[in-house]
Amino acid sequence: MGAERKFLTTLTLPYESIRTLHEGSSEVRLYRNELIGQHQIGKRYSKLGLESTVAVNEGKLLKQIRHSHVVPVEDVVTPSGYDPILSTVELIMPFYERGSLTDAFERGERFTVGTAISLMCGALLGLAEIHDCFGVIHRDMKSPNLFLSDEGRLLVGDLGAAILMDEEGGGEALPFVQLYSAPESLITRRCDRRSDLFQMGLILHELTSGPFPYADPTYEIEAMAERLSQGRRAVRPVHLRAEPWVPSRLRRVINKAIQCDPARRFTSAKTMSDALANVPYIDWVEVSSEPDRRRWEGATVHRPDRRFSVEATQRKNAWSLVGRQQVTTWRRISERPDAIVSSLSDPQAASFFESMLAIATKR
């Protein structure tokens, strides 16, 4: 018996593969650990093209990152049965029932401004941990790589493409084009903290105004590469229009994060999080949505008892906006004249919501 143990050099974990969640360049499998009854995710990467990543070289470092807003890497394993030339590495992570932000969008979930700010502030704390405490650049921040925990936190996940910062605080950009790529990734082929923050800015836009139309034909690789090579964003300006209820201070945070010139962006996740944490807002919830009549109600964090509403009614080719405040009953706000706008994406509609915020936050 003792002699047999000497030759036992490989540890086999009791993972049963339940199903494949994603196929492609990196396969994602759902496992069930038969001994502890826990579900886990395994994300498998070919090491080819990822030779410089933390996952391939510094698996131990990934395991050390423990933060309430970072998906913990529970193990880094080498699956058996692969051609050694195409050697693979697999990151084992917890399984989150609610899935990624993209999964939530696909289920039709949308987020209020308050929830979006709260989620993003948390995720930025997670990113600050990766950047500032471990000297790592994520390089692949996108809504499929942010996960919603059961407690309602947004966690930075999938560190498979992450690299250690060099002495200049940067590194080589990911060698492929995607919707969330920062322009410098194609122009200088370099990235740094600010490239991750550019991607977080795009995700913040999605959180507040809905997901990008990923399948739009203008988002084919060649078209995106052309825009990026010209120093522009891969995401077209038409898809970066904010919903009218997104407050102007929040729009400014998003705009600063997604500047094409890295020098004009936030310099750290901490400064972006600070700016976001101090954005005043009414947490508008759409309570009625008919083709010709929409209504939003909300309050500020500090005065939840003082509620406001905006009602938009379509008449011919224009929308009429009426603002009200609830005292004992809903009353029109005399300080706020009603507005007529051609569409709800009209800047005047945003001004109308902004003026409601000014009234709500007036001391």
Binding site: H67, E129, C133, D274, A277, N278, V301
Partner: protein, 159 residues
């Protein structure tokens, strides 16, 4: 010993609801580090705001890895509103918890004690401390100077 190997000391001063941070690496102030102040998240309710503050300060301490964290005691003993006092003491308590959770030694330090050891007069702290430490005044200097005073007290005491 290279500069990055020198011991780090962190001073903390809570003023007007904001936490100011002063960092000394060896006997030199660290001014362009990004750790300057932490403003509580104004959009969270009280409990969540304290937890958010703990997490953010804890992250700064984890990054800086100081030998000791010093928290400046207030010199103000009268004319306080309950709201101001409770915010200050709340943030100080949370700062102590954050340091404790990172396994760091944390001390409460009076400004008089620190000024005496650093050899600067408290009434002229804003002008005297930059000269004493060989540094420029940073943004938010009036409040941040106290944080640097405490950090300098810890650093000079250990050098």
């Amino acid at each position: 010993m290279s500069n990055s190997d020198k011991l780090v000391h962190v001073g903390i001063n809570v003023a007007s609801g904001t936490t100011y941070i002063g960092v000394m690496r060896g006997t030199e102030p660290l001014v362009d580090d990004g750790a300057d102040r932490i403003r509580p998240n104004a959009q969270l309710d009280h409990a969540a705001r304290f937890e958010d503050f703990r997490a953010r300060l804890g992250q700064e301490l984890r990054r800086l890895q100081p030998r000791v964290v010093g928290i400046a005691r207030t010199r103000k003993y009268g004319n306080w509103t309950m709201a101001n006092a409770s915010t200050r003491f709340g943030l100080e308590a949370v700062a102590m918890i954050a340091a404790e959770q990172e396994g760091l030694e944390c001390r409460l330090i009076t400004q008089e004690e620190a000024a005496k050891s650093v050899e600067v007069p408290i009434p002229r702290l804003s002008e005297a401390l930059p000269k004493r430490l060989g540094m420029e005044q940073t943004p938010h200097w009036n409040d941040r100077a106290v944080a640097f005073l405490v950090a300098a007290h810890l650093a000079l005491g250990s050098s």
